[in-house]
């Protein structure tokens, strides 16, 4: 029987699901290999059980966490899809403030009060903290990046379909940057997070003329002290450096204790 795969979105820009819909050229062939049983962005179908569940987005409310636990109970493999699911991504920057402060900032004091006291609405509004998926349930694989890399997605699906296991190289972005023979960003005066960021993106931002801002999260065990010292030498203040590390919140939540 073909493996059944399902997609679920939590708090995210839904770009990672789109990145997967972007496999147009191979989409029909993928459908020969797997049955897509839930994909809210493209389908209306729903299914009770599935082999692989892809979770896009961070977990911001208890109702979302409940939904996630339910999904975990219905699947064999659970995959965090993209930076929001892997480490909270940009929205986790709001964790610096309390939930009530955040609500008040966006909706004003009155709405904030109603949202927190009217039981008809509070589950909808009850924002706790922005959490990564692995902070709530066990995660088997992380597909990193904002957005995810379609080749990594294809690799994972193909490997699981073939009865093998996916393998994601545990190496920094610099490796792929050098594979591509790029000029190092430091060479033209800017600074880069490539040395400490989990690769697999083919260094796409550097290929495109930018630098690495670390959307794929910190590689475990990296020499962060050295990186900070280097950025200081390049004239960045500690505020700048913290702001850079927090741009995608990549340094905040490290997926640990799970398969790489």
């Amino acid at each position: 029987m073909k493996p059944r795969i399902a997609f679920f979105d939590m708090a995210s820009c839904e770009g990672c699901q789109l990145a997967i819909l972007d496999c147009e050229d191979v989409f029909l062939h993928i459908l020969d290999l797997v049955d897509i049983v839930e994909f809210r962005e493209a389908l209306s179908e729903k299914a009770p059980r599935f082999d692989v569940a892809f979770i896009e987005g961070s977990i911001n409310r208890e109702i979302d966490a409940e939904r996630l636990r339910d999904i975990r109970a219905r699947c064999t493999w659970l995959v965090s899809l993209g930076a929001c699911a892997c480490h909270g991504n940009v929205q986790a920057r709001s964790n610096a403030l309390s939930p009530a402060e955040n609500l008040q900032r966006v909706y004003g004091p009155e709405a904030c009060h109603v949202a927190q006291t009217d039981s008809q609405y509070w589950p909808l509004w009850a924002h706790t903290r922005v959490r990564a998926v692995h902070e709530v349930v066990k995660v088997d694989y992380h597909l990193r990046g904002c957005p995810v890399d379609r080749d990594e997605f294809l690799h994972l699906v193909k490997r699981l379909v073939a009865g093998s296991l996916p393998r994601f190289a545990r190496q920094p972005v610099c490796v792929e940057c050098k594979h591509n023979g790029n000029e190092c960003v430091f060479e033209h005066g800017d600074t880069c997070m490539g040395q400490i960021t989990w690769g697999g993106c083919d260094a796409i931002c550097i290929n495109g003329g930018y630098r690495c801002d670390g959307c794929r999260g910190l590689l475990p065990g990296v020499n962060l002290d050295s990186h900070r010292a280097l950025l200081r030498e390049r004239g960045l203040s500690d505020t700048d450096i913290d702001s850079r590390y927090r741009l995608f919140c990549s340094a905040d939540v490290q997926p640990r204790g799970t398969r790489p």
Binding site: L154, A162, V175, G181, E183, H188, Q195, N223, S226, L230
Partner: protein
């Protein structure tokens, strides 16, 4: 073998005509201040060496390309074979051998020596068919250096500056934007046969002229003769020098991936989505500085400490491979690793530090 003397502009035109034979590569500017060994196209800016540093034409002074020219002979993600199933359900496997003609031009002496060393590696023991197939269909037009390309260069110290072996044609800068063109092999001789360049009657005199112009001392020099460096590195086991030089290291592998004599690779298989019975095996550049390099099944890592990996890298260049092949240093002194490392960890400094600690030992 014959020699010619002609202007750079003529040589440029000639290089453009060579693309009838196959792809022609030459160092070309990229980004803000770097060079890339790239296919020569109609409007490409080619980075030649100049006789003296007075030329105002830009960009003539090429520093080393980020990726050395030798990498064209074992490209990243190189296909090893592809497979499919025939009507009888049997697998058909076809090795991918690239035997297209290509010309690597503007190869500097350090990179030339590196190609020679890779020839040794790939012919050693069980030869590597994929490398050799490319190599044997490659013509090399090397280009002398009269000034060190940047402050990281130490090619003279490693014995690469005057390297000629492996080149089919050798270009030496001459005054007035001219070049001395020498055929070093039969293949080079043939290539130059109908180029229509003016023969040079005084090849030796021209070479002497260039030699006199060469910067002296050329680039950085070790604090001891090369053989002593090799002996010292060979005898350095546990040493605080290793630890000192990895304090700031990211284990990012850049130093491996830009080195012209690093050749380690990883292998990947893949099958096609539209026909899962077909696919290919490829290999990609790997590096011994990367943490997972020596991890085996079950997770045991044979070189978990950064210092052990750094020592491994340096010793391959300056101890083990020299011992195995007797061809001198496997570091050709191109300076790429020190240049590209974002925290300035430089094999040159490490070697000098090892010399210094060896001296202070009783």
């Amino acid at each position: 073998m014959r020699g010619f003397l002609t202007t750079r502009a003529t040589v440029l035109d000639w290089l453009h005509t060579l693309d009838q034979l196959g792809d022609v590569f030459f160092p070309q500017p990229m980004g803000e201040s770097s060079f890339r060994f790239d296919k020569v196209r109609k409007h490409s800016l080619l980075a030649f060496e100049d006789f003296d540093a007075t030329s105002t034409e830009k960009p003539f002074r090429a520093s080393t390309c980020v990726q050395p020219p030798g990498k064209k002979l074992s490209p990243n993600n190189e296909q090893i074979f592809h497979f499919s199933k025939n009507e009888n359900g049997e697998y058909q496997l076809t090795p991918t051998l690239d035997d297209r003609q290509r010309i690597l031009a503007g190869v500097r002496p350090c990179d030339l020596k590196a190609i020679h060393l890779m020839d040794r590696i790939n012919s050693d023991g069980i030869p590597d068919a994929h490398y050799l197939s490319r190599r044997q269909n490659t013509t090399i037009i090397a280009h002398d250096c009269l000034q060190p390309c940047d402050q990281h260069c130490f090619c003279d110290a490693t014995g690469s500056l005057r390297w000629r072996e492996g080149a089919d044609i050798f270009l030496t800068p001459q005054p007035e934007a001219k070049l001395l063109i020498e055929a070093l092999t039969e293949r080079g001789e043939q290539l130059l046969a109908d180029a229509g360049f003016t023969p040079c009657k005084n090849i030796e005199g021209r070479k002497t002229l260039a030699e006199a112009q060469r910067t002296k001392p050329f680039g950085r020099q070790f604090n001891a003769p090369l053989q002593q460096v090799i002996d010292t590195v060979s005898n350095s086991g546990e040493s605080p020098v290793w630890d000192k030089h990895v304090e700031r290291c990211f284990s990012c592998g850049t130093c491996n991936l830009v080195c012209p004599t690093c050749y380690c690779f990883d292998v990947q298989d893949d099958f096609n989505v539209d026909d899962p019975d077909s696919g290919q095996r490829t290999r990609s550049w790997d590096g011994c500085m990367l943490e997972a390099f020596a991890v085996v099944a079950g997770g045991h890592n044979f070189r978990p400490q950064l210092a052990a990996r750094q020592r491994h890298r340096i010793k391959r260049k300056l101890a083990w491979l020299p011992a195995r092949f007797g061809d001198g240093s496997f570091c050709v002194g191109c300076g790429r690793c020190g240049h590209q490392c974002t925290v300035d960890i430089d094999i040159f400094d490490i070697a000098n530090d090892l010399l210094a600690t060896a001296e202070t030992k009783p």
